[in-house]
């Protein structure tokens, strides 16, 4: 018994060693030749292709509704375009370290294009440039990168705040006490939006900012701050950085008359603008579309099929206020959650049919 088990152990060890040697030998024997050849092949092959593309997506914030919708918009547009065979999504929490590894993984997968929401403006440049050198089209969406040769698609955050603030100040007749409910201090999008807000404010000397809060883009935090403000301070108007429907709810809860409010294209807010207009709610939804992912994909496909799109695309936000009932009704998506971003169709880039397609979140072959 004892003897036989020892024989087994020796046998197992030999097998282990053999596999180990095989495992180690493979990478050593493989390299040199294919690498250069593959890069050449990709460079010459890419423009000739007219469809059947593989698209890689890199995202590093999981569990965030906006980011999930961004990924679903990419998938929906990939299906709608008819040019994509496969979408590989790499989606995990992380910083530049993880994203560099993820991008290298996508390069190894032999994707034709990479769409990424970058964690860092400069930290990813080396890996992005390495991808471009291999003939891969790289599109950064939502946030910019400085890498040479990369396409960049962003929402104009300065204009987002300026357009909304101008509407608010105009609605108030250029005079009154206003609250600025910001996002997270120090985050680039928040800084840009604050700058846009201040730009608008400069033209309205009689508008007074009575309070400035940081909601952390968290609905419950924003709701609490709004409740405290409207029950203790005289407020004529509220500008929010996207925490909008919780604020309107606080007016209802505290039984305080509505004041003009600016929010984003969140489904819950759009619904309130439509349904509470009779009760005196005046407001405006400014778009900050996660469908920017789909725009990124459309640009990637344009680049792959030799249509030479612009390197930098900046989407200007649209404003839908309570007087624009038709516009709001077109946005409203009754089947979606309150946090759903309703502005999903971005002409001329997207070709899927509205929220239902994005919400289905199906890539080709899924």
């Amino acid at each position: 018994m004892k003897h036989r088990s020892r024989v087994h152990v020796v046998g197992m060890l030999l097998l282990v060693l053999a596999l180990l040697v095989a495992g180690c030998a493979a990478p050593v024997s493989a390299p040199a030749a294919p690498a250069g050849g593959a890069a050449d092949a990709a460079a010459t092959e890419a423009p000739a292709k007219e469809g059947g593309f593989t698209i890689g997506v890199s995202n590093t914030l999981v569990g965030n509704g906006w980011r999930e919708q961004m990924i679903c918009a990419i998938k929906a547009q990939a299906t709608a375009s008819g040019l994509v065979d496969r979408v590989i999504v790499v989606n995990r929490n992380g910083g530049p370290t993880e994203q560099i590894a993820d991008l290298e993984g996508l390069i190894s997968q032999g994707v034709d294009a990479i769409i990424l929401n970058p964690t860092d403006r400069e930290g990813l440049n080396a890996v992005i440039e390495a991808a471009i050198a291999q003939g891969i089209v790289v599109v950064a969406v939502d946030q910019a990168v400085t890498a040479e040769g990369a396409y960049v698609v962003t929402n104009d955050q300065v204009a987002y705040a300026r357009i909304g603030a101008e509407w608010l100040f105009e609605t108030l007749g250029g005079k009154g006490k206003v609250v600025e409910m910001r996002g997270i201090d120090g985050v680039p999008a928040d800084t840009d939006r604050h700058n846009g807000f201040m730009e608008a404010l400069a033209n309205y000397p009689d508008i007074e900012i009575v309070a400035q809060t940081f909601t952390g883009w968290d609905p419950s935090t924003g709701a609490q701050q709004a409740l405290d403000l409207i029950t203790t301070t005289e407020v004529d108007g509220i500008w929010t950085s996207g925490i909008d429907y919780p604020v309107v709810e606080q007016f209802q809860a505290a039984n305080v008359p509505f004041v003009p409010i600016v929010g984003a294209d969140n489904n819950g807010f759009v619904k309130q603008l439509l349904e509470l207009a009779d009760e005196g709610l005046v407001g405006a939804a400014v778009t900050n579309p996660p469908a920017i992912g789909a725009v990124g994909l459309a640009i990637a496909l344009d680049a792959l099929t030799g249509k030479n799109p612009e390197r930098v695309t900046m989407l200007t936000p649209e404003l839908f206020d309570t007087s624009n009932v038709e516009g709001l009704q077109a946005l409203y998506a009754p089947d979606e959650q309150v946090g759903w971003s309703t502005y999903v169709n971005i002409p001329p880039y997207t070709s899927y049919s509205g929220s239902a397609d994005v919400s289905a979140c199906k890539a080709p072959g899924e």
């Binding site: 596999l19 493979a26 370290t97 290298e104 032999g110 390495a130």
Partner: protein, 334 residues
């Protein structure tokens, strides 16, 4: 018992193999995974080898440090925070400096953070408070300090240092020899030192049975401080590797927290008993790389990335159960 007797009668080389069968097993697992990965992607070449080795470096270093501490009977939840601290200090002060200054800062960081963590070991000895509590507390201190030194991502380092850890001055697509050697040399050195040197064996003795080690005349307090110092040095090295890979510093708490958890996972997978005194450091080099490789492999397999983490967890649990089962069987046989 019978196993031990049987082993004494066999050839010494075979005996060494048997004793390190877990280490061999995890290296085999890594080899198999690599082989499998080559079949999943269109091209497997130097780019991929470099990518895997360099991206594994921070976790491998941290896991080696954690392994030494666990072997000595402790556990260090602050290693990830020390990685952050080393990362942000390096990024902040190395930016735009000549290579000599960068090297000096790097060495100072390794020595300084080793001393800092030795102090933690000393406090554990002195206070008698469990390791897990003291290091949890220090992890918050170091993370806070890191945020204070570098409030938001930024900074940089010299191209030479990036080359040392990544094989390329720009951090990508270079030769795989520098990162491979930077991984294997510290791994082998620490493993050999722990297995053959007098202080190294003291660590094993302390972790295995502190009282017995003390009665045998070993300085168990010094052993623990030494283990924490090595852990600190490895965490500093991990922080340097991270700066080299990204070219920037990142002070976010989550980076340190997940690094700590991964280091414990690598240690456990590497066959090092959390009860202390058992295991070989060289195994965690393989499991560190394995943990990093799981992600691209699962994605190459077309696993939905939202499910990838679940599968990763199930794999860890599965490997651990195989390990536990084999231990139970071995006990029953003897």
């Amino acid at each position: 018992m019978t196993n031990a007797l049987a082993a004494t009668r066999t050839h010494p080389a075979l005996r060494a193999l048997l004793r390190n069968s877990w280490v061999l097993g995890v290296w085999l697992l890594l080899g198999a995974l690599l082989l499998w990965y080559t079949t999943l992607i269109p091209v497997f070449g130097p780019f991929q080898i470099t990518s895997i080795t360099k991206n594994s470096l921070p976790l491998v270093y941290l896991a080696i440090g954690q392994a030494i501490i666990v072997i000595a009977g402790g556990i260090d939840l602050s290693l990830g925070a020390l990685l952050l601290l080393s990362n942000v200090i390096a990024a902040r002060f190395m930016e735009g400096q000549p290579v000599g200054v960068v090297a000096a800062i790097g060495l100072a960081l390794i020595v300084g953070i080793a001393l800092l963590n030795a102090l933690t070991g000393y406090i554990i000895n002195l206070s008698g408070v469990p390791d897990i509590v003291v290091t949890l507390a220090t992890s918050y201190i170091w993370s806070g300090l890191a945020l204070w030194i570098l409030p938001s991502p930024g900074g940089g380092t010299a191209p030479e240092m990036r080359w040392l850890f990544t094989g390329s001055p720009s951090g990508i697509g270079g030769s795989y020899w520098p990162p491979l050697l930077m991984m294997l040399i510290p791994g082998l050195l620490v493993a050999l030192w722990a297995r053959t040197s007098r202080p190294g064996l003291t660590l094993y003795a302390t972790g295995s049975n502190r009282t017995a080690a003390q009665l045998a005349g070993l300085n168990v307090r010094r052993a623990k401080i030494l283990a924490y110092a090595i852990g600190g040095a490895m965490a500093a090295l991990a922080g340097l590797a991270m700066v080299a890979i990204t070219g920037t510093g990142d002070p976010r708490f989550a980076v340190g927290a997940s690094a700590t958890l991964n280091s414990v996972a690598a240690v456990v997978l590497g066959g090092i008993a959390l009860t202390g005194g058992v295991g070989n450091v060289f195994g965690v080099v393989a499991t560190g790389v394995t943990l990093i490789m799981l992600n691209p492999i699962l994605i190459a397999m077309g696993v939905n990335s939202n499910n990838a983490q679940v599968i990763q967890g199930v794999l860890i649990a599965g490997v651990m159960m195989v390990g536990g089962l084999s231990a139970v069987l071995r006990e029953r046989r003897s």
